[in-house]
């Protein structure tokens, strides 16, 4: 009985979950959208069009739109350049992937270069030419003089 009541309570919470979802935050959105005039985020701009966009955001929040719906509505009117972060799909995905690819590619290139250089250096150590016997004798004599 208690177990059934607990289950009903959990299911009830899950079912009513979305009703408690917080509305989008205007300040957060203003930090994620770009003013077309000054090309800074809306929260840092007081250009007339930025003020209009802020008003639009507040009106759409009041109308119950989600963050994504508000962003989509602004992209339709101002293009994807209005997003401070490039979109995660299509061509915008390149903006995320290229720096990572560059870093990975650079690390691989450095690793391969280091490996190639160390390979070049090590054979030189093992294949060092033997000392001329005459020169070796002179070195030994000199060392013996110092030791003596």
């Amino acid at each position: 009985m208690i177990r059934a009541a607990a289950l009903a309570l959990v299911l009830g919470v899950i079912a009513t979950g979305p009703a408690y979802a917080a509305p989008p935050n205007a300040a957060d959105l203003e930090a994620e959208l770009v003013c077309p005039v000054c090309e800074t985020t809306l929260d840092q701009s007081n250009a007339p069009v930025a003020e209009r966009m802020k008003t639009f955001i507040r009106a759409r929040i009041a109308a119950g739109d989600s963050e994504q719906e508000i962003k989509d509505a602004l992209v339709v009117q101002f293009g994807s350049e209005v997003l401070a972060e490039p979109p995660g799909g299509g061509f915008g995905l390149l903006a995320w992937l290229l720096p990572i690819a560059g870093l990975v590619g650079g690390a691989i290139a450095v690793a391969l270069l280091v490996r190639a250089w160390s390979r070049k250096a090590s054979p030189a150590d093992t294949s060092a030419e033997p000392l001329d016997p005459e020169l070796e004798r002179l070195v030994d004599d000199e060392l013996a003089r110092f030791d003596g």
Partner: protein, 179 residues
């Protein structure tokens, strides 16, 4: 091996650079026009701002067209708007069409702008700036003069109402009408 990878990476970077230059059609469009070539302007169909329905560039074939990209928040656009209206009124009987494309803007703001300046030439809405991109527009306003066959005769970055630009624009219009 390492050297091969380094050369490969450099080659890849050059390939990316070449690709970006080759696919930058719009920038090339203005550059080609100002070199005296006449590249074909990309055709488009856009929602009208001044009345219901769509507006298709190729529907003006046979006429010279001044395509002006603007936005209501753009200050030089406000300065040149009366001049463009005057240009339209004075030359519409000569087979010249002035076409305003509003980009990166709220429709309502664009309509208010048109009302404020009494614009009567055809206006279309290029909200996300797709056509601005295909023309290679990098800022607002930008103006393209197309001849009767839809080829770009000249391109102007910034306002066209200034004393230094106006004669060049009128000259390009005469040239476009002469084709």
């Amino acid at each position: 091996m390492g050297q091969g990878v380094a050369i490969g990476l450099v080659a890849l970077l050059f390939a990316l650079l070449a690709w970006s230059l080759l696919t930058d059609e719009g920038g090339t469009l203005a550059a080609q026009a100002n070199r005296g070539e006449r590249p074909a302007a990309p055709d488009f169909t856009l929602e009208r701002l001044d009345e219901d329905g769509d507006l298709r560039l190729s529907s003006f074939e046979g006429k010279a067209v001044v395509v002006n990209f603007w936005a209501s928040w753009c200050i030089p656009c406000k300065d040149e708007a009366p001049f463009l209206e005057e240009l339209w009124r004075d030359n519409r009987d000569r087979d010249l069409v002035v076409l305003g494309l509003d980009s990166r803007d709220f429709r309502a703001d664009a309509r208010r702008f048109a009302d404020r300046f009494g614009l009567t030439f055809p206006l279309a809405y290029d909200g996300p700036g797709d056509e601005a991109s295909s023309f290679g527009v990098t800022g607002y306003p930008e103006t393209f003069v197309l001849d009767r066959e839809g080829r770009v005769v000249a391109a102007f970055k910034g306002g066209v109402d200034g004393d230094d630009v106006r004669p060049r624009l009128l000259e390009a219009i005469d040239e476009a009408l002469a084709t």
